[in-house]
């Protein structure tokens, strides 16, 4: 279980990026984190994976726990060691290294050689193309393949919780469908997922719970179904209106009530 409590994060002295975020991700959950550009989605993932320092960000309040352990002061390698592994926004594969070397780099954080071998098998099953292109320079892969490599690289470390930062970014709808299917499959294999997306349609299909971030706070929280039905999400992220059947309206009303005014109310405990 990942728990984030009253998390405040700033960059330098002047930029406050997160103001009191609360959320939970159970060990078998998929949490979608929605929100527009600059809402603080990447900052949230950086905080969880311990890479905030590389961006000169600091946790100025609150805490992040994984299980019993407090992880907001650990270095990234220690966090990977606990089973929390991130895929950064924009894929960030090692473009000058081969596909296989990218996976190998991903496996450096794995616990044992057997774990590594098993992880590689899993990755090759999920992404046969990575086996076919093993020796090719990673920079020569298509955008979709690069995203697959970025996910495969993270899987090499044997994550129990996978953090994905906008995996659909810049990909054709068909590829986005495939990535969505793969995330579902990874989840079915027993890995919890935090899925950051601007593509709310895709994210809400895959997730069971969801939060909407707005300028560093949780504006809405609820089940994926509730949020899909909420007028606000419809209007802002799904480009339509909630169907007017009563069930959906009720759900929408519920989500509206959870809208942050008193911050504690919106805490979603999954």
């Amino acid at each position: 279980m990942l728990t984030v409590r009253n998390l405040h994060v700033r960059y330098g002295r002047s930029v406050a990026a997160l103001h009191g975020i609360d959320l939970d991700v159970p060990d078998d959950g998929v949490l979608a984190v929605l929100g527009s550009n600059g809402a603080g989605k990447s900052t949230l993932l950086r905080t969880i994976s311990g890479t905030l320092r590389l961006h000169r960000g600091t946790v100025s309040g609150g805490e992040v726990r994984y299980g019993e352990r407090r992880i907001d002061r650990l270095d990234p390698a220690a966090i990977v060691g606990l089973g929390v592994v991130g895929v950064p926004e924009g894929r960030q594969i090692f473009a000058r290294m081969s596909v296989d070397e990218n996976l190998r780099a991903g496996g450096i954080g794995a616990r044992s050689a057997e774990d590594r071998a098993r992880a590689r098998e899993r990755v090759h099953e999920l992404f046969p193309v990575l086996a076919e292109r093993a020796r090719q320079r990673a920079g020569l892969l298509s955008g979709g393949e690069q995203q697959m490599l970025a996910i495969g690289r993270a899987l090499m470390a044997g994550p129990k919780l996978l953090l994905l930062d906008e995996p659909s970014l810049g990909l054709a709808p068909k590829i986005v469908e495939r990535i969505a299917g793969i995330i579902r499959e990874i989840h079915q294999q027993g890995t919890a997922v935090v899925l950051v997306e601007q593509n709310a349609v895709m994210a809400l299909q895959v997730a069971d719970q969801a939060v909407v971030l707005e300028t560093g706070t949780v504006a809405l929280a609820g089940s994926a179904a509730e949020l899909s039905a909420s007028e606000e999400v419809q209007r802002l992220y799904l480009g339509g209106h909630a169907e007017s059947d009563t069930a959906a309206e009720e759900e929408a009303a519920l989500a509206r009530r959870q809208r942050v005014g008193a911050r504690g109310l919106s805490r979603w405990t999954g």
Binding site: S49, G50, T51, R53, L54, R56, D75, P76, A77, V80, G81, V85, G86, V87, P88, Q92, I93, F94, A95, R96, M97, E101, R104, A105, G106, I108, G109, R153, A154, M156, A157
Partner: protein, 292 residues
């Protein structure tokens, strides 16, 4: 013809030593983006330990100790000084290494006093006859040693976990951190390797064959030729360090012979400038060194 063969062997012999220095320099830059201006002082430190322990340990033991000490000193500089200021940008860290360089160099020069000891006992001043041509043994041994070390380095760099981690970090620090690569470990080993290579290089530099001068401030200035070597090869290219080192060695040997000893030094920098004008990121580099 005979002199030409000698010149080329001289050039490659010196070049092999510059390649060792430039390689260390590039490894540090790749891992940390820091330009290590303390490289010359690592060279002096290794050499000084050979001088200080030669009588008790014998030359071979002292040479090993010198190499190891240069590696350890590099590691200490990184662990005790640079890693503590992790948030500082590469530029201020480079300035920090200048401070380190001055302190170590001045202290060793002070300790050496007026003595200018040669430290290549096993090969220095023992010319070899090859088919009627007389060659410096120092240069031949340097070529063999450098070939072995550089080959070992490239095998490790390409195939070992250390090499994968090193290249991953050089390419993308955040992505490397995200998959659990320990950047402090990669950085520390980079400095260690660079220090060890500097310790080996000095055994060839402070000789009659190479420079005609023993361990001294002069050794430090010779080692500085590793900068143009690394820069013209491309600061972030290991292969470039080798090519750059050999180029500097050859330019140095040829211009000393055909022009003058005094001109050789500027010739090396002239070649570097010409390369930079044509290719701002060096022969094999991907990053413009003007950024540094």
């Amino acid at each position: 013809m005979e002199t030409f063969v000698q010149l080329v062997v001289n050039g490659f012999g010196k070049g092999a030593v510059f390649a060792l220095l430039a390689l260390g320099f590039v490894v540090i830059f790749k891992a940390t983006e820091v330009v290590n201006f303390a490289h010359g002082s690592l060279v002096l430190f290794g050499g000084y330990l050979v001088v200080a322990t030669r009588e008790t340990l014998g030359w071979a033991g002292a040479a090993v100790l010198g190499v190891v000490s240069a590696g350890v000193l590099a590691l200490l500089v990184e662990r005790l000084l640079l890693s503590r200021s992790r948030l500082a940008d590469p530029f201020s860290l480079a300035l920090l290494t200048i401070g380190v360089d001055v302190i170590i160099t001045e202290e060793i020069v002070r300790r050496l006093g007026v003595s200018l000891p040669f430290i290549g006992d096993a090969w220095d001043a023992q010319p070899v006859q090859v088919g009627g041509v007389t060659l410096f043994r120092t240069h031949l041994v340097a070529m063999v040693v450098a070939t072995v070390l550089i080959t070992a380095f490239f095998i490790a760099f390409r195939y070992s976990n250390w090499g994968v981690a090193m290249r991953a970090q050089a390419e993308n620090k955040e992505a490397a951190a995200l998959v659990g690569i320990r950047s402090s470990r990669v950085t520390a080993t980079a400095w260690l390797v660079a220090g060890l290579l500097a310790g080996v290089a000095v055994l060839f530099i402070a000789t009659q064959d190479f420079s005609g001068a023993g361990l001294s401030r002069g050794t430090h200035s010779i080692a500085l030729a590793a900068f143009p070597a690394a820069i013209l090869g491309g600061l972030d290219s290991t292969a470039g360090a080798i090519v750059g080192g050999l180029t500097v060695g050859l330019v140095d040997a040829l211009s000393t012979h055909y022009v003058s000893f005094a001109f050789a030094k500027s010739a090396v920098f002239l070649v570097m400038l010409v390369v930079l004008v044509v290719r701002p990121s060096g022969l094999f580099g991907t990053r413009e060194s003007t950024r540094v």
